[in-house]
Symmetry: C2
Subunit: 352 residues, 2 copies
């Protein structure tokens, strides 16, 4: 259409997992946390002076950044806050990779990365993951203008050891290395502390998964001050106030509630362990997850068939119609009850 920019005409947007409007489904398709967010954070809402909504929120999220910096053991100036890690990633792509050639990322990873690359004219070199779905960090030790890796990776659920990423950072000083740690709290190894040593390291985090706050839209980037300052330039050329006043307060309180955070994580991990064992007994290959989801492959039944039959039984999981991963399913870890129903249903499907 002639009213549109070339980009608006041609881009293929990201397609998020289904969000059915009714509550009939067991939703294991968008990696949401099955547990409520911190009650301390919810209680805090009562003390908010809502008449202050008439004022613009703090554009710098000063209190939230101060609190998070203490928890991570970095400085406040090392933290960027965005409207979910999606906005953080979009800002990072514009700040570091826009219009550049030869930016490296795995061929199988978060499917929003190629959309950002398209939107911001990033020329990507996709590095194939291995047959066993792992990322071999040596494949990235080549000439490049940027590296983007999710650790743990999605939808594979696999984690890269910290020492491997440090090896990569030692051998890659001239471009920004973005490590997306959306799922790291569920058992991965964070590289956050390495930002002091590597000025080109940017770590991206979110409250959507391990803090049960997908509905709040708060994500972070952590990196050297110079990287963060650059991101703020782009952010302040786009939207000065992307985090509303209420979200800043809830996010801060949720981050402070470390006890609940740890309980929540441990519950998800415990459930993940028993579901993994059950699925293996049903003939599934289950990749060794360090996330709040599983990537599972069955060798007799096709993934699409299992997906469809689960859906007709009101259980939603994620199927990717994409080479290399179209034989698997991504299954979010729900509550124990939900996962028992899921396992029972899968059992019937694979034994038919």
């Amino acid at each position: 259409m002639s009213f549109f920019s070339q980009k608006a005409n041609n881009i293929l947007p990201y397609i998020p997992g289904e969000q059915p409007k009714d509550n009939e489904y067991i939703k294991l398709n968008t990696n949401e946390n099955p547990y409520s967010p911190s009650m301390r954070a919810i209680e805090k809402i009562k003390s908010i002076n809502f008449s202050r909504l008439r004022l613009y929120p703090d554009p710098d999220c000063t209190e939230l950044r101060n609190t998070y910096s203490k928890i991570l053991g970095v400085k406040s100036e090392n933290i960027f806050v965005g409207n979910g890690s999606d906005e953080v990633l979009a800002t990072a792509f514009q700040t570091f990779f826009m219009e550049k050639e030869n930016v490296l990322m795995p061929d199988i990873s978060y499917s929003f990365y190629p959309v950002y690359s398209d939107l911001y004219n990033v020329n990507v070199k996709k590095i194939p993951i291995k047959e066993d779905f792992t990322i071999d960090i040596k494949d990235y030790m080549i000439e490049n203008n940027g590296i983007i890796i999710a650790n743990p990776n999605a939808p594979t659920s696999l984690s890269i050891p910290r020492q491997d990423l440090e090896l990569l950072l030692e051998n890659n000083n001239n471009s920004v290395v973005l490590i997306d740690e959306a799922y790291v709290d569920f058992g991965g190894e964070t590289v956050v502390k390495l930002i002091e040593k590597y000025k080109n390291l940017l770590v991206v985090r979110t409250l959507s998964k391990s803090y049960s706050l997908a509905g709040l839209r708060v994500g972070f980037a952590i990196g050297d001050k110079e990287l963060i300052d650059g991101m703020n330039k782009i952010k302040n050329s786009f939207n000065s106030y992307p985090i509303d006043m209420i979200a800043q307060i809830i996010a801060e309180e949720a981050i402070k509630d470390i006890d609940y955070f740890e309980q929540n994580i441990n519950k998800v991990i415990k459930t993940r362990h028993w579901v993994t064992e059950k699925l293996k007994l049903l003939g599934f290959d289950v990749l060794e997850s360090k996330t709040n989801f599983l990537f599972i492959i069955h060798h007799q039944k096709s993934a699409k068939e299992i997906f469809d039959k689960l859906k007709s039984n009101k259980i939603l999981v994620r199927y990717f119609n994409k080479e290399k991963i179209n034989n698997g399913l991504r299954v979010t870890i729900g509550t124990d009850e939900e996962m028992k129903i899921f396992v029972e249903c899968v059992k019937k499907i694979v034994k038919e």
Copy 2:
């Protein structure tokens, strides 16, 4: 810095008005509404099931769009929701104007427009406003690939009659005409209903001013379905969920509370009238405001001097160090009490 994209290196971000952390100041500098948002909207917060924050919010803001569409008398498909009208504007710039030549806007208007133009490589032709600060719509009836006009305009506070904008639309069918109605509720004439007749008209709105919800970050675009679909393509290539769950609910309830909305507007307008009269008596030219702010010019005292002296008296207004408007001040309409203090202080300053 070599880590940065060319854009991140070169862009000059938007600079919002000062947001002092202490409460010592009378803040008449960022066009915030002095009154609380709708109590009905604040009460509604109590009924929110906050445990649902664990889930992603509705990416399409379905309920909010349905409600707003009824109030505006358009269809839900004609409405786009963004994180404040700033994000809406950024999305519109990407969708309609990115990389284009000869996009028209007034030389004096919202200072974020040139920043978006820079970020998205829009080649702008700035049309000079008249000596009396008005916009002459005939100046825009020239070859173009887009027109952006704030109505009422900022910081001038002046409004363009609907019939003038309709004349422009009749004579401009081949490019998108964006009318930014951030301040229209305070006395301007909306063109929202013209979207049915003109497929190239996009109207931008915000809850930040007339709904006292600057802290919530909700803005809208209203236009033909095809324009809105294009904006959603860009939005879904950037951030699927920019409006959090709580903000969607509060915004919807605030919009429903029409009585409060009208009371709020009327109070601001009433205050604006008497402040205007007082300032005229003190020797100011006061432009005929249809907004929640005034643009005032004094012929003896310089604007910068008045600004500085007000600030040292703990009153913040907005001074733009920019040709054509550096002889004036933009003064937000506060409460009657705040404006009495302001008028008294100004009186002393101009009589010194």
